[in-house]
């Protein structure tokens, strides 16, 4: 029996390399087939479209016309700026909040954990239609938020939340954070569950304080998941559409117009310029590529 095992082990070792390779490709085969069909062709098409100019069905090859048009398009530049602002402000806030909540909820001694967890996750499932109606009515000039803030003496006069560019952006950032913090929290919680509790025990016995345990044990083990959420959040914010379409419709005066909303307008609202819309899409692709690459780089030096 034991001999059989040893022999089997020895023989298996020489086959592992090839078997692994085979399984490697086999396991990802269904994915590659599906994506090859339903991703690659459309992407190639849209790449081809990005060099086309024209309206609707009448288009012709335009070379770099679309790219030049990008540089002279005031609306595109506005959309780019807005998207950038949302990215830089909102993503870090959300990641940090989600981490804090996950850390707090990972404590087995905390009471009502189930309730808090469900509550903070609830915004992710609340329907887009419902919460945009709600946010619009809460932040109206005579809405709940203004009333509350004046009652609490936080300010003297009502703010026109949705009528002022700065405040409209604030509302959007609040809406996104409200909606997606719970989502990221779930990923962190699941990952924290995979950390062996005995490590914490050992550290506590050694006298390591709570915040240090978090910083030196939890965070490093969460690195892969944190990288995942930052990349995903970056992509999500660069493609921001739902909130700005439903709550502010890109206004006022295009202050909440994002790249995705602009693409949407170019494709559906305006005289359809599918070629130019595709070009703007590739701006998003390039931004994502660059930012993701940077994020991977930052995470890399710690990777084993």
């Amino acid at each position: 029996m034991i001999l059989g095992r040893i022999l089997g082990g020895a023989m298996a070792k020489s086959r592992i390399g090839r078997a692994e390779q085979r399984n490697g490709w086999l396991f990802i085969a269904p994915t590659l087939v599906l994506l090859g069909l339903f991703m690659v062709y459309p992407i190639v098409w849209s790449l081809w479209m990005s060099f086309q100019t024209g309206r609707g069905m009448n288009h012709s090859f335009g070379g770099f016309t679309n790219i030049i048009r990008l540089t002279q398009d005031p609306v595109f530049l506005r959309a780019l700026t807005n998207t950038g602002i949302f990215l830089v402000v909102q993503v870090p806030i959300m990641i940090v909040l989600a981490l804090l909540f996950a850390a707090a909820l990972n404590n087995p001694k905390l009471r009502f954990r189930g309730f808090f967890r469900t509550a903070i996750f609830l915004p992710c499932v609340t329907s887009l239609v419902a919460y945009s109606i709600l946010f619009k009515s809460m932040f109206a000039s005579d809405g709940v938020i203004n009333d509350l803030a004046i009652m609490l003496h936080l300010m003297d006069a009502p703010i026109s939340w949705l009528g002022d560019p700065f405040w409209a952006r604030t509302v959007i950032i609040l809406a996104i954070t409200w909606r997606w913090t719970g989502y990221n929290m779930i990923f962190y919680l699941a990952a924290m569950q995979n950390i062996d509790k005995s490590i914490y025990e050992a550290a506590r016995i050694d006298g390591v304080p709570g915040w240090a345990r978090f910083r030196y044990i939890t965070l490093p083990m969460l690195k892969p998941v944190i990288l995942f959420t930052t990349v995903i959040s970056t992509i999500g914010t660069l493609q921001l559409f739902d909130e700005v379409n439903n709550i502010t419709t890109g206004g006022p005066s295009d202050s909440t117009l994002t790249l995705s909303l602009y693409i949407y307008n170019l494709t559906f609202k305006f005289m359809p310029s599918l070629g130019y819309a595709a070009t703007v899409s590739y701006v998003i692709v390039i931004l994502v590529a660059v930012l993701s690459f940077l994020q991977f780089l930052v995470a890399k030096d710690r990777k084993a």
Partner: protein
């Protein structure tokens, strides 16, 4: 002294969580209140319960075949989730467990595809589906979504925490790769799967743009499309809209409830 500090900090934690919980729940509460009020009251901002719940429900069911629509969304969500998890988690596992230079490059390309806004590939995808005569079918909705780079990415990152010793031990025991995946990996990564099920179910359930473009008939509509159409008349009946949105939200909450224990309550000892 440190006891007081600890208690104060604990109090702060509870306060913070409570505030977060309140802010998170309030809109849902408002939705529930809305189901019981009439449209004019909702617009005025009434936040107390009314008595129009029965009327709103009756009106909704009179206007829309809710049973059919609910079934459509449920079917798509469940089948989509099962298939997506099966195919994508397998790929995520493989990318991490069987590293190779070529596959790394493939992975990088796949990641890039995440950045393409859907609006950009929608038209060619539609043409493709038309050529396959799949317009207005559920197959057309499922096919592009079940290989999800997002989930592949997620599982790959999560697999980094999967101990290699387990796999080595299993191989010495003579298990084949697919058996290792099914019998060792799956149980150990339960919490990851639970989280993924929630995420994918939610994504499929709330899927909006592609079903809008592909589905043509009333019988095939999903719940998200119905809610959107209800909410955009010249004078929408917000009471009805609220009932529809609450119904639209319920399944995702239920799925979350069922699974959250599983991935949080502990796999102590399972790694051993």
């Amino acid at each position: 002294m440190s006891r007081v500090f600890a208690q104060a900090r604990s109090g702060l934690v509870y306060a913070g969580l409570s505030l977060a919980a309140f802010v998170s729940i309030f809109p849902f509460f408002w939705m529930l209140v809305g189901t019981t009020n009439t449209a004019p009251d909702i617009i005025k901002g009434k936040i107390t319960f009314g008595s129009a719940l029965f009327d709103n429900i009756t009106n909704l069911f009179a206007q829309v075949d809710m049973v059919q629509v609910f079934w459509n969304s449920t079917f798509l969500a469940i089948v989509g989730t099962v298939l997506t998890l099966a195919i994508s988690s397998l790929a995520g596992y493989a990318f991490e467990m069987f590293p190779s230079k070529t596959r790394e490059r493939v992975f990088a390309v796949l990641l890039l595809t995440l950045s393409i806004p859907f609006a950009a590939i929608m038209v060619p995808l539609f043409v493709m589906m038309a050529k396959l005569t799949l317009i207005n079918t559920f197959t057309a909705i499922l096919l592009p979504s079940i290989a999800s780079v997002f989930i592949i990415f997620y599982f790959r990152q999560a697999t980094k925490a999967f101990p290699h010793e387990l796999r080595d031990a299993a191989k010495i025991d003579g298990l084949k790769e697919w058996q290792i995946f099914l019998y060792i990996y799956l149980p150990v990564m339960r919490s990851t799967y639970a989280a993924a099920i929630i995420i994918v179910f939610m994504a499929n359930w709330n899927n909006y743009l592609w079903p809008l473009i592909v589905l043509q008939t009333n019988e095939n509509k999903t719940l998200t499309l119905v809610v959107s159409s209800l909410a955009s008349s010249y004078y929408p009946d917000y009471g009805v809209v609220m009932v529809a949105t609450v119904l639209a939200t319920l399944p995702t909450i239920i799925v979350f409830f069922l699974l959250q224990r599983r991935f949080v309550e502990g796999l102590t000892g399972s790694v051993k």
